[in-house]
Protein backbone atom coordinates (compact mmCIF):
# COMPACT_ATOMS: atom_id res chain seq x y z
CA UNK A 1 0.00 0.00 0.00
CA UNK A 2 2.81 2.35 1.00
CA UNK A 3 4.71 1.40 -2.20
CA UNK A 4 1.64 2.20 -4.32
CA UNK A 5 1.32 5.55 -2.61
CA UNK A 6 5.00 6.25 -3.21
CA UNK A 7 4.70 5.41 -6.90
CA UNK A 8 1.57 7.54 -7.23
CA UNK A 9 3.32 10.39 -5.45
CA UNK A 10 6.31 10.05 -7.82
CA UNK A 11 4.26 10.20 -11.03
CA UNK A 12 1.47 12.49 -9.82
CA UNK A 13 3.09 14.70 -7.16
CA UNK A 14 1.07 17.13 -5.11
CA UNK A 15 1.54 20.66 -6.36
CA UNK A 16 2.90 22.00 -3.10
CA UNK A 17 5.00 25.21 -3.02
CA UNK A 18 8.10 23.14 -2.20
CA UNK A 19 7.53 20.90 -5.22
CA UNK A 20 7.00 23.90 -7.53
CA UNK A 21 10.23 25.50 -6.29
CA UNK A 22 12.13 22.22 -6.83
CA UNK A 23 10.67 21.83 -10.34
CA UNK A 24 11.54 25.44 -11.15
CA UNK A 25 15.12 24.93 -9.99
CA UNK A 26 15.49 21.75 -12.08
CA UNK A 27 14.08 23.55 -15.17
CA UNK A 28 16.39 26.55 -14.66
CA UNK A 29 19.41 24.31 -14.14
CA UNK A 30 18.57 22.26 -17.26
CA UNK A 31 18.19 25.48 -19.27
CA UNK A 32 21.53 26.83 -18.08
CA UNK A 33 23.40 23.56 -18.58
CA UNK A 34 21.94 22.42 -21.92
CA UNK A 35 21.35 25.91 -23.32
CA UNK A 36 24.66 27.58 -22.45
CA UNK A 37 27.19 25.11 -21.07
CA UNK A 38 26.74 21.76 -22.78
CA UNK A 39 24.66 22.34 -25.89
CA UNK A 40 23.57 19.10 -27.58
CA UNK A 41 24.07 18.63 -31.33
CA UNK A 42 23.59 15.89 -33.91
CA UNK A 43 26.29 15.24 -36.52
CA UNK A 44 24.94 15.41 -40.07
CA UNK A 45 27.51 14.55 -42.72
CA UNK A 46 30.68 12.53 -43.15
CA UNK A 47 33.36 15.25 -43.03
CA UNK A 48 34.78 14.19 -39.65
CA UNK A 49 34.76 10.41 -40.16
CA UNK A 50 36.08 8.14 -38.80
CA UNK A 51 36.38 10.09 -35.51
CA UNK A 52 32.79 11.39 -35.62
CA UNK A 53 30.20 9.36 -37.49
CA UNK A 54 27.18 10.70 -39.37
CA UNK A 55 24.11 10.65 -37.11
CA UNK A 56 26.10 10.69 -33.88
CA UNK A 57 25.03 12.81 -30.93
CA UNK A 58 27.42 14.90 -28.88
CA UNK A 59 27.53 18.00 -26.68
CA UNK A 60 29.41 21.24 -27.29
CA UNK A 61 31.46 22.09 -24.20
CA UNK A 62 31.11 25.86 -24.40
CA UNK A 63 33.73 26.84 -21.82
CA UNK A 64 36.56 24.81 -23.37
CA UNK A 65 38.21 27.89 -24.90
CA UNK A 66 37.18 30.42 -22.29
CA UNK A 67 40.72 30.78 -20.89
CA UNK A 68 42.83 29.22 -23.65
CA UNK A 69 43.00 29.26 -27.43
CA UNK A 70 42.46 26.13 -29.56
CA UNK A 71 45.57 24.04 -30.26
CA UNK A 72 46.51 22.24 -33.45
CA UNK A 73 44.68 18.91 -33.60
CA UNK A 74 41.72 20.09 -31.49
CA UNK A 75 38.23 19.44 -32.81
CA UNK A 76 36.13 22.60 -32.57
CA UNK A 77 32.49 23.58 -33.03
CA UNK A 78 32.11 26.58 -35.36
CA UNK A 79 28.95 28.68 -35.46
CA UNK A 80 27.21 30.41 -38.34
CA UNK A 81 24.76 33.21 -37.37
CA UNK A 82 23.62 31.47 -34.22
CA UNK A 83 24.13 28.08 -32.66
CA UNK A 84 21.38 26.03 -34.33
CA UNK A 85 23.59 25.11 -37.29
CA UNK A 86 27.28 24.53 -36.57
CA UNK A 87 30.32 22.94 -38.18
CA UNK A 88 32.54 20.31 -36.57
CA UNK A 89 36.14 20.64 -37.82
CA UNK A 90 39.71 19.99 -36.74
CA UNK A 91 42.22 22.80 -36.22
CA UNK A 92 45.19 22.18 -38.55
CA UNK A 93 47.03 25.52 -38.30
CA UNK A 94 47.17 28.44 -35.89
CA UNK A 95 47.42 32.21 -36.40
CA UNK A 96 50.56 33.40 -38.17
CA UNK A 97 51.41 29.92 -39.48
CA UNK A 98 51.75 29.12 -43.14
CA UNK A 99 49.48 26.25 -44.18
CA UNK A 100 49.70 24.24 -47.38
CA UNK A 101 48.35 20.97 -48.78
CA UNK A 102 50.72 19.21 -51.18
CA UNK A 103 49.66 15.95 -52.87
CA UNK A 104 47.57 14.89 -49.89
CA UNK A 105 50.01 16.00 -47.19
CA UNK A 106 49.57 18.83 -44.72
CA UNK A 107 52.52 21.23 -44.47
CA UNK A 108 52.84 23.78 -41.67
CA UNK A 109 55.50 26.45 -42.24
CA UNK A 110 56.90 24.24 -45.01
CA UNK A 111 57.28 21.13 -42.80
CA UNK A 112 55.15 18.03 -43.21
CA UNK A 113 52.74 17.54 -40.32
CA UNK A 114 51.72 14.03 -39.30
CA UNK A 115 47.97 13.59 -39.01
CA UNK A 116 47.18 10.29 -37.27
CA UNK A 117 43.43 10.99 -37.42
CA UNK A 118 43.40 10.72 -41.24
CA UNK A 119 42.53 7.14 -42.19
CA UNK A 120 42.03 7.36 -45.96
CA UNK A 121 44.43 8.87 -48.51
CA UNK A 122 43.56 12.12 -50.28
CA UNK A 123 45.16 14.18 -53.03
CA UNK A 124 44.51 17.80 -52.06
CA UNK A 125 46.94 20.45 -53.28
CA UNK A 126 46.56 24.03 -52.09
CA UNK A 127 49.19 26.75 -52.41
CA UNK A 128 50.71 28.12 -49.15
CA UNK A 129 48.73 30.77 -47.26
CA UNK A 130 49.24 32.48 -43.93
CA UNK A 131 46.61 32.24 -41.21
CA UNK A 132 45.40 35.73 -40.22
CA UNK A 133 45.61 37.06 -36.64
CA UNK A 134 42.86 35.82 -34.28
CA UNK A 135 42.03 33.01 -36.69
CA UNK A 136 42.67 29.30 -37.04
CA UNK A 137 42.71 27.08 -40.11
CA UNK A 138 40.30 24.13 -39.92
CA UNK A 139 39.59 21.09 -42.08
CA UNK A 140 37.63 17.87 -41.83
CA UNK A 141 39.25 14.47 -41.17
CA UNK A 142 37.56 12.83 -44.15
CA UNK A 143 39.32 14.38 -47.14
CA UNK A 144 38.22 11.91 -49.81
CA UNK A 145 36.97 13.29 -53.12
CA UNK A 146 37.75 16.60 -54.83
CA UNK A 147 38.91 19.46 -52.61
CA UNK A 148 36.26 21.78 -54.11
CA UNK A 149 33.50 19.67 -52.54
CA UNK A 150 34.86 20.21 -49.02
CA UNK A 151 34.18 23.00 -46.57
CA UNK A 152 37.48 24.05 -44.96
CA UNK A 153 39.59 27.16 -44.43
CA UNK A 154 40.43 29.82 -41.87
CA UNK A 155 37.87 31.18 -39.48
CA UNK A 156 37.84 33.79 -36.76
CA UNK A 157 38.32 32.64 -33.15
CA UNK A 158 35.09 34.49 -32.30
CA UNK A 159 33.17 31.88 -34.32
CA UNK A 160 34.41 28.99 -32.20
CA UNK A 161 31.67 28.00 -29.78
CA UNK A 162 33.65 25.30 -27.98
CA UNK A 163 34.67 21.69 -28.45
CA UNK A 164 32.81 18.39 -28.51
CA UNK A 165 32.53 16.71 -25.10
CA UNK A 166 34.03 13.45 -26.43
Amino acid sequence: MAVNKGIRQFFFPSLTPAFLIRAGCVALLAYLIFGHLLTPFRIKGHSMEPAYQNGGINFCWRVRYLFSAPKRGDVVVIRFTGQRVTLLKRVVALEGEEVEFRDGRLLINGKEWNEPYIHSPYNWSLSPRRVEPNSVYVAGDNRGGPMQNHFFGQTSLTRILGGPLW
Partner: protein, 166 residues
Protein backbone atom coordinates in the same frame (compact mmCIF):
# COMPACT_ATOMS: atom_id res chain seq x y z
CA UNK B 1 -6.10 59.85 -3.88
CA UNK B 2 -7.11 61.51 -7.13
CA UNK B 3 -3.44 61.92 -8.08
CA UNK B 4 -2.78 58.21 -7.46
CA UNK B 5 -5.75 57.34 -9.70
CA UNK B 6 -4.32 59.44 -12.56
CA UNK B 7 -0.85 57.95 -12.08
CA UNK B 8 -2.32 54.45 -12.33
CA UNK B 9 -4.28 55.37 -15.48
CA UNK B 10 -1.14 56.90 -17.00
CA UNK B 11 0.87 53.76 -16.18
CA UNK B 12 -1.80 51.54 -17.76
CA UNK B 13 -1.85 53.74 -20.88
CA UNK B 14 1.96 53.65 -21.12
CA UNK B 15 1.91 49.83 -20.75
CA UNK B 16 -0.73 49.58 -23.50
CA UNK B 17 1.34 51.89 -25.71
CA UNK B 18 4.49 49.82 -25.20
CA UNK B 19 2.52 46.61 -25.85
CA UNK B 20 0.97 47.97 -29.05
CA UNK B 21 4.30 49.28 -30.38
CA UNK B 22 6.03 46.00 -29.54
CA UNK B 23 3.27 44.04 -31.28
CA UNK B 24 3.54 46.23 -34.38
CA UNK B 25 7.34 45.87 -34.42
CA UNK B 26 7.06 42.08 -34.07
CA UNK B 27 4.52 41.88 -36.85
CA UNK B 28 6.89 43.68 -39.21
CA UNK B 29 9.62 41.20 -38.26
CA UNK B 30 7.19 38.36 -38.83
CA UNK B 31 6.39 39.74 -42.29
CA UNK B 32 10.09 39.71 -43.15
CA UNK B 33 10.43 36.15 -41.84
CA UNK B 34 7.40 35.12 -43.90
CA UNK B 35 9.27 36.09 -47.08
CA UNK B 36 12.04 33.66 -46.11
CA UNK B 37 9.51 30.89 -45.46
CA UNK B 38 7.96 31.57 -48.89
CA UNK B 39 11.42 31.43 -50.48
CA UNK B 40 12.05 28.15 -48.65
CA UNK B 41 8.77 26.73 -49.98
CA UNK B 42 9.64 27.86 -53.51
CA UNK B 43 13.13 26.38 -53.54
CA UNK B 44 12.26 23.12 -51.76
CA UNK B 45 11.38 20.21 -54.00
CA UNK B 46 9.77 16.86 -53.24
CA UNK B 47 10.65 13.73 -55.23
CA UNK B 48 8.41 13.31 -58.28
CA UNK B 49 7.26 16.93 -58.34
CA UNK B 50 5.01 17.61 -61.34
CA UNK B 51 5.52 20.39 -63.91
CA UNK B 52 2.49 22.38 -62.70
CA UNK B 53 3.85 22.54 -59.13
CA UNK B 54 7.31 23.40 -60.43
CA UNK B 55 5.91 26.26 -62.51
CA UNK B 56 3.95 27.61 -59.55
CA UNK B 57 7.00 27.48 -57.30
CA UNK B 58 9.24 29.22 -59.83
CA UNK B 59 6.66 32.01 -60.18
CA UNK B 60 6.48 32.25 -56.39
CA UNK B 61 10.27 32.66 -56.17
CA UNK B 62 10.18 35.46 -58.76
CA UNK B 63 7.44 37.33 -56.88
CA UNK B 64 9.64 37.59 -53.77
CA UNK B 65 12.39 39.64 -55.45
CA UNK B 66 12.72 43.31 -56.31
CA UNK B 67 12.93 44.12 -60.04
CA UNK B 68 16.68 43.66 -59.74
CA UNK B 69 18.55 42.04 -56.87
CA UNK B 70 22.28 42.02 -56.10
CA UNK B 71 23.25 38.41 -55.47
CA UNK B 72 26.65 37.12 -54.44
CA UNK B 73 26.87 33.35 -53.91
CA UNK B 74 30.45 32.33 -54.86
CA UNK B 75 29.86 28.64 -54.05
CA UNK B 76 27.35 28.49 -56.92
CA UNK B 77 29.15 30.98 -59.18
CA UNK B 78 26.24 33.43 -58.97
CA UNK B 79 27.31 37.05 -58.74
CA UNK B 80 25.97 40.41 -59.86
CA UNK B 81 22.76 42.39 -60.17
CA UNK B 82 20.16 40.04 -61.57
CA UNK B 83 16.66 40.66 -62.88
CA UNK B 84 13.66 38.65 -61.69
CA UNK B 85 13.74 36.59 -64.90
CA UNK B 86 17.42 35.77 -64.41
CA UNK B 87 16.79 34.76 -60.80
CA UNK B 88 13.89 32.49 -61.72
CA UNK B 89 16.06 31.05 -64.51
CA UNK B 90 18.82 30.17 -62.02
CA UNK B 91 16.25 28.74 -59.61
CA UNK B 92 14.64 26.62 -62.32
CA UNK B 93 18.00 25.24 -63.48
CA UNK B 94 19.07 24.51 -59.90
CA UNK B 95 15.81 22.67 -59.20
CA UNK B 96 16.07 20.70 -62.47
CA UNK B 97 19.46 19.34 -61.38
CA UNK B 98 17.97 18.11 -58.11
CA UNK B 99 15.57 15.29 -57.44
CA UNK B 100 14.77 16.60 -53.96
CA UNK B 101 15.66 19.77 -52.10
CA UNK B 102 14.93 21.23 -48.70
CA UNK B 103 15.89 24.81 -47.86
CA UNK B 104 15.56 25.89 -44.24
CA UNK B 105 16.49 29.11 -42.45
CA UNK B 106 17.72 29.38 -38.87
CA UNK B 107 18.89 31.95 -36.31
CA UNK B 108 17.29 35.08 -37.75
CA UNK B 109 18.80 38.42 -36.75
CA UNK B 110 16.59 41.13 -38.25
CA UNK B 111 17.11 44.88 -37.97
CA UNK B 112 15.32 47.86 -39.51
CA UNK B 113 18.05 50.46 -40.17
CA UNK B 114 15.65 52.88 -41.84
CA UNK B 115 12.05 53.20 -42.98
CA UNK B 116 11.21 50.64 -45.65
CA UNK B 117 14.44 48.65 -45.25
CA UNK B 118 15.14 45.44 -43.37
CA UNK B 119 18.53 43.83 -42.88
CA UNK B 120 18.56 40.15 -42.05
CA UNK B 121 21.45 37.90 -41.12
CA UNK B 122 20.65 34.21 -40.85
CA UNK B 123 21.83 30.69 -41.53
CA UNK B 124 20.53 28.83 -44.58
CA UNK B 125 20.75 25.06 -44.83
CA UNK B 126 20.18 23.28 -48.12
CA UNK B 127 19.86 19.49 -48.16
CA UNK B 128 18.72 17.03 -50.76
CA UNK B 129 19.91 14.95 -53.71
CA UNK B 130 20.98 15.75 -57.24
CA UNK B 131 19.46 13.86 -60.19
CA UNK B 132 22.69 11.82 -60.35
CA UNK B 133 22.19 10.69 -56.74
CA UNK B 134 24.84 12.88 -55.06
CA UNK B 135 23.90 14.21 -51.64
CA UNK B 136 23.47 17.97 -51.22
CA UNK B 137 24.33 19.24 -47.76
CA UNK B 138 25.27 22.91 -47.51
CA UNK B 139 25.05 25.53 -44.80
CA UNK B 140 25.78 29.21 -45.31
CA UNK B 141 25.56 32.41 -43.32
CA UNK B 142 23.63 34.95 -45.36
CA UNK B 143 23.26 38.73 -45.28
CA UNK B 144 20.08 40.04 -46.88
CA UNK B 145 18.57 43.43 -47.55
CA UNK B 146 14.83 43.61 -48.11
CA UNK B 147 12.95 46.68 -49.30
CA UNK B 148 9.31 47.41 -48.67
CA UNK B 149 7.62 47.95 -52.00
CA UNK B 150 3.83 48.38 -52.06
CA UNK B 151 3.49 47.01 -48.50
CA UNK B 152 5.47 43.89 -49.41
CA UNK B 153 9.01 43.02 -48.38
CA UNK B 154 11.12 42.17 -51.43
CA UNK B 155 14.64 40.76 -51.57
CA UNK B 156 17.02 43.43 -52.85
CA UNK B 157 20.43 42.08 -51.87
CA UNK B 158 21.61 38.59 -50.92
CA UNK B 159 25.20 37.83 -50.02
CA UNK B 160 26.87 34.75 -48.58
CA UNK B 161 29.19 35.53 -45.67
CA UNK B 162 32.48 33.66 -45.86
CA UNK B 163 32.69 31.62 -42.65
CA UNK B 164 35.65 29.50 -43.78
CA UNK B 165 38.11 31.30 -46.05
CA UNK B 166 40.21 28.92 -48.11
Amino acid sequence: MVTLKYVLIALVLIAIGIGVSLTLFQSEEKRVKKQFYLLSEGVSKEPGENIFTMDQKIKKIGSLFDETCEINIPAHSVSGRLTRDEITGYAARGRLHSSELLLKFYDFDIAFPQQGEAKARLTARLTGKTTTGEAVNEAHEIDCLLKKIEKKWMFSHIEVVEVLKK
